[in-house]
């Protein structure tokens, strides 16, 4: 069965600091990978996704993620965070057969002005 691990449960950064959130998955086949963001009181919003091709994926709001197949990882990065990036971030994975998403436990990011 698929599983997703997000090791950072709560991250606190100052504005302009760089961000990297870890995501590791367990599945041996072909996967599709996603990062979602949930701002306080709001619903899920897709940040970026990886299906194939260039393993470095660029998403909205300056976020990017790199798929490293050998490490089963899909870490999320942003070079300079803003206070408005304060939110919960979820990594998710699915395979082409299953189609439903398996979510990680989420990482709460708090950016201090």
């Amino acid at each position: 069965a698929q599983s997703v691990s997000q090791h950072n449960h709560h991250v606190i950064l100052s504005e302009a600091a760089s961000l990297e959130l870890g995501c590791n998955y367990s599945y041996g086949g072909t996967v599709n990978l996603f990062w979602y963001v949930q701002y306080p009181g709001q619903h899920l919003q897709l940040l970026l996704k990886y299906f194939s091709g260039d393993p470095l994926v660029k998403g909205i709001k300056g976020f990017e993620a790199e798929f490293i197949k050998s490490k089963f990882s899909f870490n999320l990065r942003k070079p300079s965070v803003q206070w408005s990036d304060t939110a919960e971030y979820f990594c998710a994975v699915t395979d082409t057969g299953r189609r439903a998403l398996t979510f990680g436990s989420g990482t709460r990011l708090q950016v201090q002005p």
Binding site: N32, F34, H43, L44, K49, F51, F90, A92, T94, T96, R99, A100, L101, T102, F103, G104, S105, G106
Partner: protein, 114 residues
């Protein structure tokens, strides 16, 4: 992109009652899913809604508690039966097209059970 209408957006219910949540998509989709997000937690898949047949439930979820219907390619309902406070969650509908490239979430139903 698909537009998903999920109703109701929120509800407050009494223990022991049932609530039916509707998910309507503006285009035909191949797969529809129901997720639950309990307070402060991640999303968990409840079931896959299959058109014209019984839903496929994940471990820990049963049809008697969460009956699901999908009469056509654009509509599905999830019922939360005999509710208890532990059922207080956000329930989300999700759909995909031919590939996962087109994967969308509804706006969710925030359920509070007193």
């Amino acid at each position: 992109s698909a537009v998903i209408s999920q109703k109701p957006s929120r509800d407050i219910c009494q223990r022991g009652t049932s609530l039916t949540i509707q998910c309507q998509v503006d285009s035909q989709v191949t797969m529809m899913f129901w997720y639950r997000q309990q307070p402060g937690q991640s999303l968990t898949l409840i079931a896959t809604a299959n058109q014209g047949s019984e839903a496929t439930y994940e471990s820990g979820f049963v049809i008697d508690k969460f009956p699901i219907s999908r009469p056509n390619l654009t509509f599905s309902t999830l019922t939360v039966s005999n509710m208890s406070p532990e059922d207080s969650s956000i329930y989300l509908c999700s759909v995909t097209g031919v590939t996962n490239e087109k994967l969308f979430f509804g706006s969710g139903t925030q359920l509070s059970v007193l």
